[in-house]
Assembly symmetry: C2
Homo-oligomer: 670 residues x 2
């Protein structure tokens, strides 16, 4: 067969990639098991992924060619098929398999907010409400969504404008969208699918306002799916990604729902309109944090891991230009500039991995405390989750884009798999709390801790360093001195301390000079955002360092992760050098040493690069990338994929309409 009619049969691993795997300094499988938290978990994960990929209903072939409508239909189809599959396999609805299924499908599932609808009723409904609505929702007899965000308000919940006014004469709530900006906007599954919604609305009763409360509202007919009277509902149109999700909008004109439709576990309106609180709703607050915690692992980190896998493998196969005159073109991974782009991101994957695990554990611990009515750790948990959400989403999104560009032109093709990772993961900087807003919330916590430290109040563990900043400047005398967690974690502490202290003092002095508090806050907010970033950065370094101890049973893995931790930390110092120099903790010469140590690590760890991404253990089906497959047959794959392109099998209609009249007028014999 002619070589240009490519097919996948019997391909060997590209020798350029095979050679990267020849003499590993550590066992990749062991590292995979560590990331999975146990060999048994690796086994389960692989079994689930394999079952999903073998099922033709779940096929993702031609995904990059699908229209929005096809993506949406495919996602809904997947969701119903997942239900069947789980039953068939005997997997539990709340078991660990569901997360692996979701990842195996690259998140291409529908009815995700229907699940939020269910969870919300479970969390905020009375037992009666739960027993009425949950059986309906679980069996898809109704399809729900969660309608919170409006055209005019997102992260700032207090500003939401939808109203729910109680009418004691009929014992109903009147749900209303009073103006354009109050239109519900963004809820997933609402655009084309839902029949019901939990609507968040400002409650009014007896002319008093009681703030945001949840109400169940039916929006579409169960019979023919048409919008109910008074309801305007539809899809909000195309987005940068999430083609498979029908994010929707919703206008409600004086829709009446019975009093029983307000979810009333924590507060209810009595028939006469009086408002009764029943218990604390602090626990609700928790749902929001839970989402921030789980998205780190499932959405954000996953995208960077995939992008690193693709770009590192590609860089070990792509040969370009020349280094040594006359020699064969080198692998682009041998260029220092390429190492500088990719290796710190591989290190970031590991950092975020351990961070996500840490935050999840802290969350569970606090949850345990809260069930014992101990709320003391809540502020720290909130700051931790908010800071890590903002810090990690920014790092991971930017990182994915760096990976994409590092693949040159091929990174721009959807076939590389990276563009769709980026356009999706970048949304995480905005949803579940806009990053700048979150950083400012963390900063408020930090400034409070700093003030506490000044007055001798004991501080939460994560900010304990604010009571005793490292004194005396950095002690490093040689580049090698920087390959020491003690040395760089102190530098990060000093940086965070200095920025927080400086911002706090600036605010204080502005107030002393006569500014109102809120003006001083706003005029310091650029610096306050920096404090949150520096603090979160410090935490990730510390968490990485302490994770090293957990792998002491595997000295060769500990060795490689230790250097990766060094790399992560030194890269941060080199790229945010200003913060470390400004307050004199590092001298210019020490920064030079840190840079030398950092560049030395790049050259040294380059040999682990492919192994470190192999350990993420993605299947080719998961990566959906022509340039990132395990076998590294990049050009072969690209050619195969374009030849499969359905578009290339069609006649180009433009030929008949526009080209032929000109071409055919050609008298010569070309």
């Amino acid at each position: 067969m002619a070589w240009w009619k490519v097919n996948s049969a019997g391909k060997d691993v590209n020798p350029d990639l095979a050679s990267e795997r020849e003499s590993p300094s550590f066992n990749v499988e062991t590292l995979t098991n560590i990331l999975d938290e146990g060999a048994e978990e690796t086994r389960v994960r692989r079994a689930v992924v394999s079952i999903i990929h073998k099922d033709p209903v779940f096929s993702r072939e031609f995904l990059y060619f699908k229209t929005r409508t096809e993506r949406y239909e495919g996602a809904v189809k997947n969701s119903f098929h997942i239900k069947r599959k789980m039953k068939e396999m005997g997997w539990n609805e709340n078991g660990r398999e569901i997360a692996y299924i979701y990842r195996a499908l690259g998140g291409e599932t529908g009815l995700n907010i229907h699940n939020v609808f269910i969870k919300t009723i479970n969390a905020l409904g009375t037992d009666e409400q739960i027993s009425k609505w949950l059986p309906l929702a679980s069996s898809y007899k109704i399809i729900g969504t969660y309608a919170q965000t409006e055209l005019g308000h997102g992260t700032y919940l207090r500003g939401l404008e939808t109203t729910a006014t109680y009418d004691p004469s009929t014992q109903e709530f009147i749900i209303d969208t009073p103006q354009i900006s109050a239109t519900k906007w963004w809820p997933g599954d609402l655009g084309k699918t839902s029949t019901h919604a939990v609507v968040l609305a400002q409650l009014y009763s007896n002319e008093k306002k009681y703030g945001m409360h949840p109400f169940i509202v039916q929006v579409r007919s169960l019979k023919d799916h048409s919008p109910l009277p008074g309801i305007t509902v539809g899809d909000i149109g195309p987005k940068m990604s999430f083609e498979h999700i029908d994010n929707g909008y919703l206008i409600m004109r004086n829709i009446r729902v019975p009093r029983e439709n307000m979810l009333s576990r924590y507060s209810q309106v009595l028939p006469d309109g009086s408002y009764v609180k029943s218990g604390s709703d602090k626990i609700n607050y928790f749902t929001m944090i839970a989402v921030r915690v789980s998205m780190l692992q499932d959405e954000v980190l996953e995208a960077l891991k995939k992008a690193c896998t693709i770009s590192v493998r590609y860089s070990a196969v792509r040969r370009q230009s020349e280094l040594k005159p006359g020699d064969r073109e080198p692998k682009i991974l041998d260029y220092q500039t390429q190492q500088q782009k990719l290796l710190p991101l591989v290190a970031t994957c590991y950092s975020v991995h351990f961070t996500a695990k840490y935050v999840a554990k802290f969350y569970n611990d606090v949850y345990g405390e809260i069930r014992k009515e101990n709320f003391s750790l809540l502020p720290e948990l909130h700051a931790l989750a908010a800071g890590m959400k903002a810090f990690a989403t920014e790092m991971c999104s930017n990182g994915v884009e760096v990976c994409r560009k590092a693949c040159g032109g091929h990174g721009y093709s959807l076939y590389s798999g990276i563009p769709s990772l980026y356009t999706k993961v970048t949304a995480s900087c905005t949803y579940e709390g806009e990053n700048t807003v979150l950083h400012l919330q963390v900063a408020r916590f930090l400034v409070k801790c700093f003030a506490g430290a000044q007055s001798g109040t004991p501080l939460p563990t994560s900010t304990a360093y604010l009571s005793s900043p490292p004194a005396g400047g950095c002690q490093a005398r040689t580049p090698n001195d920087f390959l020491n967690p003690e040395v760089y974690s102190k530098a990060y502490e000093y940086r965070a301390y200095s920025l927080i202290s400086s911002a706090a003092k600036k605010m204080q002095s502005l107030v002393q000079l006569g500014s109102e508090q809120y003006v001083a806050w706003n005029n310091t907010s650029v610096e306050l955002v920096k404090t949150s970033i520096a603090h979160s950065h410090l935490l990730t370094v510390k968490i990485f360092i302490s994770a090293l101890n957990s792998v002491s049973d595997h000295p060769e893995i500990k060795a490689v992760l230790t250097r990766l931790c060094d790399l992560y930390a030194l890269h941060g110092i080199v790229t945010s050098a200003g913060d470390f120099l400004q307050y004199g903790y590092l001298s210019g010469k020490q920064l030079d040493m840190a840079t030398t140590a950092y560049l030395g690590l790049l050259a040294e760890r380059r040999k682990d690069a492919v192994l470190l991404v192999d350990a993420f253990d993605f299947t080719d089906d998961q990566l959906l990338s022509a340039i990132g497959t395990y076998d590294g047959n990049v050009y072969h794959n690209l050619l195969e994929w374009v030849q499969k392109n359905p578009e290339n099998k069609k006649v180009n209609p433009v030929f008949e309409t526009y080209l032929k009249p000109h071409l055919q007028s050609n008298p010569s014999k070309l």
Copy 2:
């Protein structure tokens, strides 16, 4: 009519946007004229844009819903219609109108590489070749493309693998794709449209290799458009953007073309196979530079200007959260963090604008010299164009993405207009020379100049500062001292000087310690990239400063641009603080002062923000943004656009297939 059935008729300007325009400190129209380089040019531009927008054939309505195929067909249609329109209007093919047409259509035109095909024949063909091929191409009797990049090689041209072997027995060249990696990849118009291509191939004659040469090869039949025998050709599939362009791939199996098909202005193969050079081809080199020069203005800057216009207007209309407790929600533009995101980018637009003009002028000057056979300025021009291409594409792409995120959730909707700006402009970091590669080319020039300075060789103007670095550290004593071009341009000079000097010394010392030259280069390349960035950054600051003198006739404009220049320069100092501190030119305290000056400028220039983007003078049709229209009716537009969404008028097929069976099984009376 109900308020939620929105329409555009008779909308007033949103009072929040109107108030921004109430008492301008300068005349916006005058600034627009300055940007256009004359009121007459403003008039012409507006006339062209208006004519294009009034023509229904060019309508861009529903662009965000179109499939790749529809986009492609629309772009080809546009191109043919432009031809007709220009004839109708009496516009000259080489006149200034064409650039305005292109911009009015947001670049949504086809057959762009067909024009490169024409230009290439014009530049590299003999008179005979020109008179044979140009009439055919100009009248679309053939459609051409320019096939250079291959699967295996992009920026590194010497690595291209397609061969052209001369066969004296038949006086033909045999054009061949010897293996997969030699497949031509990316040429625009090739995927579905072209009948011919200028193919770049390694010339072999009498078993000698002569390097890359251009050959005209027919790829498709003029009769039925099918690929000719031996040709495999098609579309390379979906990309991150450029949906309207049919980038293609091409495999040629021993295709014979007559000897006359090698473009032979500068070199030819005689019938017996002997190779003859005729004149210098240095001028060709120029084409590549010309593209880099023109793309700055037409593609890269245009995207950032649009993104700034949209995000600044939106930020003056969007109200969110609270600053002063109890007060009305403030415009988000009043938050310092939002100003920090957007104002430096508005300043960057002006900086890149003046830079693009400067580079274009320098290009023309050098072109004049070259026609007089004076090639002495060529290295400086190359470094200038390469450095500015890499620097500006990176800044503008990143800037567009910052604008998008600054619009929160609405920035993620395609309706905002910004996602499609980003996914398109980011490609400019890769095409026409990958940025890291270009920066390293500039660095090579800088290191050479630095060595020259050491040995007393006179330096080109742009690097003259390398002979006499600013001595004695920065003299600023107060924040206000930093509002001084003298002060900050010296700081930028010192920074560039220090980085170049440090990189050069490092390389020298590596070589002295026994490294081979190429190893020393590679091990310094991360720092070398920094030198090019610092040098390019310095040039943009200097060019901005000198542009201020050109507006001296308009003191109120000069005043506002001077502050914008300060803002641009100080933002750079604050965000790259490490470079300025490391070598001791600024002290930590001075960096504090610079930060204070910078933050002060944000608060102060916030009032000009809307006016400064209004001056870019985009029509709503050009912006194609629901949230960036001149009238600022953001929510109104969004609601109107979703209600026009053709998807929302269709029945959802998922209802019948997946939902109904469940919903209909509902026994209760919901």
